[in-house]
């Protein structure tokens, strides 16, 4: 049973436009969410995070929105650039997990930004 779902395996966007990547979760215990970006044959790199006490977190061109009632979060990239083309993973965790802190990842969405 997948607790973190990224239902769109791929997304194609024109350079300069907005990219919106979606993520849904089923475990109501999750209270901390992260987005990672991954290029082929490399490890994922951390992009942005949000805790459940917030509904929005912004960092430059990247904004993450959290809708707790819908158990949904989204990553907005504005404006999109060709270098943003990568696989984006949504991840979730329980902050109270203590030493057993671990992330649950979605399957990822391949974003392609066309010049």
């Amino acid at each position: 049973d997948q607790q973190v779902k990224q239902n769109s395996p791929s997304l194609s966007v024109q350079e300069g436009r907005i990219s919106i990547l979606n993520c849904d979760y089923t475990n109501s215990m999750f209270d901390y969410f992260l987005w990672y970006k991954k290029y082929p044959a490399e490890g994922p790199t951390f992009l942005i995070s949000i805790s459940s006490i917030k509904d929005k977190n912004e960092d430059g061109r990247f904004t993450v929105f959290l809708n707790k009632s819908a158990k949904h979060l989204s990553l907005h990239i504005v404006p999109s650039q060709p270098g943003d083309s990568a696989v984006y993973f949504c991840a979730a965790s329980v902050m109270g997990g203590g030493s057993n802190y671990k992330l649950t990842f979605g399957k990822g969405t391949l974003l392609t930004v066309n010049p």
Binding site: Y36, P44, S93, K102, L103
Partner: protein
């Protein structure tokens, strides 16, 4: 600054052969360490994690095992590889706090033939 190393970068192994992948972290002490596998179309699956030397937690039953012989060393092993063990293996570390992000190594691409 902290760095994480994985080797080898790429490995081609026959079915039934043993496996040993190594991960080391520099610049930190007592990290939490993680092994993930990314198989085609399946996202990042957590295989093992360790909160200290000799302490291993397994997330999914499988053909693999993990060991942590030193504080900053994490090893993924198998006695006999299966075709289904092919994938991209990633090691990650964190200081262990709930708001700390996980930092990933460069990964090892394993192809079992």
């Amino acid at each position: 600054s902290q760095t994480i190393h994985q080797w080898p970068a790429t490995l081609v192994q026959p079915v039934g052969s043993p496996l040993s992948l190594e991960c080391t972290v520099e610049g930190t002490s007592n990290p939490n360490l993680y092994w993930y596998r990314q198989a085609a179309g399946r996202g990042l699956q957590l295989l093992f994690y360790s909160v200290g030397i000799g302490q291993i937690s397994s997330e999914v039953p499988q053909n693999l095992s993990a060991s942590r012989p030193q504080d900053r060393q994490f090893i993924l092993s198998s006695k006999k590889l299966l075709l289904s063990d092919s994938g991209f293996y990633l090691c990650a570390w964190t200081t262990g706090g709930p708001l700390e992000t996980q930092y990933f190594g460069p990964g090892t691409r394993l192809l079992v033939l």
